[in-house]
């Protein structure tokens, strides 16, 4: 079962790389839907495997609040021919190379800086931790941040943020699941931010340099 969970986590990482590669804005919303769906399946299987009702509830909420509602809110902001919107002036090839380099660097940092913490504590509180999933969680966090930092499209930046949030849930599941009340509140908070962001997306769809905001 653990191998299957690891496979799902690896799938989430591949989806994060897909977000880096695509230059059509619509693909970013697809990333949110697909990655969230995989996360939801991961949570559901973990819940069934550990007989945890909390995780099953969390899985349902993840797919509904993040997979369906978030995507629907963002899609409403697009004109009818949304598939044709491409990001302006992206340097996708160099970002892909940077993305791969960052994956390697993150895994090396994890191996030498974070894994030892888990290893030394393996006889104690961290026995439940799943190192491969935790490592992938860290990598997706960095990939999400890279997406935010390298793109000008606000939708791409927001996709990066959702990716980071998904990675946090994965990390939490990989290390030690938080109480359900906290997990649900996090989901609701992020949903509120999605609604707020959709209002901010009403204006210019790309983040820009403004003279008054310099200095």
């Amino acid at each position: 079962m653990n191998e299957f969970l690891d496979f799902l986590a690896a799938l989430m990482l591949l989806i994060a790389i897909w977000a880096q590669v695509g230059s059509y804005v619509i693909s970013k919303i697809q990333v949110i839907v697909v990655q969230t769906s995989v996360l939801s399946v991961y949570t559901l299987i973990s819940g069934i495997y550990t007989l945890s009702l909390d995780l099953v509830i969390l899985a349902i909420l993840i797919i509904f609040l993040r997979g369906v509602l978030t995507a629907a809110i963002l899609l409403r902001k697009f004109p009818a021919r949304s598939q044709l919107i491409r990001e302006r002036s992206t340097t996708v090839p160099s970002v892909i190379i940077l993305s791969i380099v960052m994956i390697i660097v993150t895994l090396v940092v994890y191996q030498f800086a974070i894994f030892p913490i888990m290893e030394t504590a393996s006889s104690g509180i961290l026995t439940k931790a799943n190192p491969p999933v935790t490592a992938i969680g860290f990598v997706i966090v960095i990939q999400g941040m890279l997406l935010i930092a390298t793109r000008k499209s606000k939708v791409s930046q927001f996709t990066g943020y959702i990716e980071v949030e998904n990675a946090m849930i994965l990390l939490s599941l990989g290390i030690f699941p938080l109480p359900l009340i906290v997990e649900i509140s996090v989901l609701l908070d992020v949903l509120a931010l999605v609604i707020v962001s959709s209002v901010l997306l009403s204006g210019n769809m790309t983040s820009e340099r403004i003279e008054e905001l310099v200095g």
Binding site: I114, K154, L171, S172, L178, V186, A192, N204, S207, E208
Partner: protein, 451 residues
């Protein structure tokens, strides 16, 4: 349910109820009366014995913050009543009031809740409830600043979630007072939790280098929102970080906190002399103030008292500075300090409040911020941190001289060209003056031995 718990619930329930006034035709008057009631309830809570009440905690730091949150919120509601008089879409103003109430609720919730997970939720909710407050006129600059605010702060706070996972892993509980009062040993796990909390909440507080949203949001927000951000939101976030620090403190975490605080103060000292935008100047000043507050809180002892003094005085002083800035910007039609002169003759009362507020927030003697800084320095020297004291004192001098010289130029230069006095609305002028006087009165109480 005891009377104290009822008072806490009342304080928390009132602002969300006020936000429903969006659906009535009396939003403004309901907001004003409701905000005054909130202040009244906060004053009552000041007299509650320090203890844990069900899910809530009243301690010596958060009860002071509760007062400052309510007071600045109330002044901001009054200020907004005339500041946005000519707004193009009145519905936006109703929404603005409604969000101000929700924003205040999220801050009060964050301060009172005794659970680390829910504290994080509260801080994240402050972002969601306040982002739209920046865009009342839907201008391009405001939209961009709000976007940066949402994106940078939310992403930063996500990092702080790691801290909560690790805390829960270590203590098997997220009960703040239980964890803090129980004490803890030194472990690598807690160090990582402390560092991720610093990065995450440090983004919200404006700790260098995670501060980039702060000058944009403060600079573009309406003045009453800048006052709420600077005077109360950031100290609330600093309080949360302080609570996390208490739960995770190890020698490594302690040194890293000090390191980031020092870099923040040094950064502000470098960038302050080149500032030309009035509100951005005060935004950077807030970064310095927050760094000092955080330093006082984590140093403890007399420095903790110093931090509390700065929190309360800064809340009123900085609000006064932002309220006055709003009045000046409206009158001159620019935020560029190079184009603002002759304030003494053109706007005499604004000149007085601007100078007074600037002296308060820059820690000029005999104001309480100065006393707070002295207490922090005293404790640092006692702890043997001479280098930190030297660096901070030098940077504070540079920052203070920069701010005061820029403010003095606006007030005292160019008065000979002033043909007439600019009239500002009485409410706006009074709110700015009251805010300054409240900051000043704390100094009087402190010097009189009443605090």
């Amino acid at each position: 349910m005891n009377i104290y718990l009822i008072m806490i619930y009342l304080l928390l329930i009132l602002p969300p109820i006020l936000s429903i006034s969006y659906f009535t035709n009396h939003t403004q008057i309901v907001s004003m009366i409701g905000s005054l009631l909130t202040v009244f309830l906060s004053v009552l809570i000041l007299f509650i014995p320090l203890s844990v009440y069900s899910y809530f905690d009243i301690n010596q730091v958060n009860r002071v913050l509760i007062i400052s949150v309510s007071a600045v919120y109330s002044m901001s509601v009054f200020f907004a009543s005339t500041y946005h008089k000519g707004i193009s879409n009145p519905e936006h103003l109703q929404m603005h009031y409604s969000l101000m109430h929700l924003f205040t609720f999220t801050m009060l919730f964050t301060l009172l809740i005794n659970n680390f997970g829910l504290m994080w939720i509260g801080i994240e909710a402050t972002t969601a409830s306040s982002a739209l407050l920046l865009i009342i006129e839907r201008e391009r600059n405001q939209m961009e600043a709000a976007w940066r605010y949402v994106l940078i702060v939310s992403t930063g706070l996500t990092i702080a979630l790691i801290s909560i996972i690790l805390l829960y892993l270590n203590y098997d509980s997220l009960d703040a007072s239980f964890i803090i009062s129980g004490g803890h040993g030194v472990s690598l796990l807690l160090s990582v939790a402390g560092v991720t909390a610093l990065i995450g909440f440090g983004t919200k507080i404006g700790i260098f280098p995670m501060h980039t949203w702060l000058p944009d949001a403060h600079g573009e927000a309406p003045s009453e929102i800048s006052a709420m951000f600077s005077g109360i939101l950031l100290p609330v976030a600093a309080y949360v970080l302080y609570r996390f620090y208490q739960a995770t403190v190890t020698p490594v975490v302690s040194e890293l906190f000090l390191f980031f605080i020092l870099f923040t103060v040094i950064f502000v000292a470098i960038i302050m002399p080149s500032q030309r935008n009035l509100k951005r100047m005060f935004a950077y000043s807030t970064m310095e103030n927050m760094a000092l507050i955080l330093l006082g809180l984590i140093t403890g002892g007399l420095a903790l008292i110093g931090a509390i003094l700065i929190i309360i005085t800064h809340a009123f002083g900085k609000s006064g500075a932002f309220f006055t800035s709003g009045n000046i910007i409206k009158s001159y039609g620019t935020k560029d300090m190079d184009h603002i002169s002759g304030l003494r003759d053109r706007m005499p009362s604004s000149a007085a409040t601007l100078l007074g507020s600037s002296l308060i927030v820059t820690g000029a003697p005999p104001f309480t911020v100065f006393a707070g800084e002295l207490l922090i320095f005293y404790q640092l020297i006692k702890n043997g941190n001479y280098l930190a004291v030297g660096i901070i004192a030098t940077c504070l001098l540079v920052i203070s001289l920069s701010v005061i010289s820029k403010v003095s130029r606006m007030i005292f230069d160019g008065n000979e060209k002033v043909a007439e006095i600019s009239r500002i609305d009485m409410t706006q002028g009074s709110v700015a003056m009251i805010s300054f006087l409240l900051g000043f009165s704390i100094t009087v109480f402190f010097l009189g031995g009443l605090i």
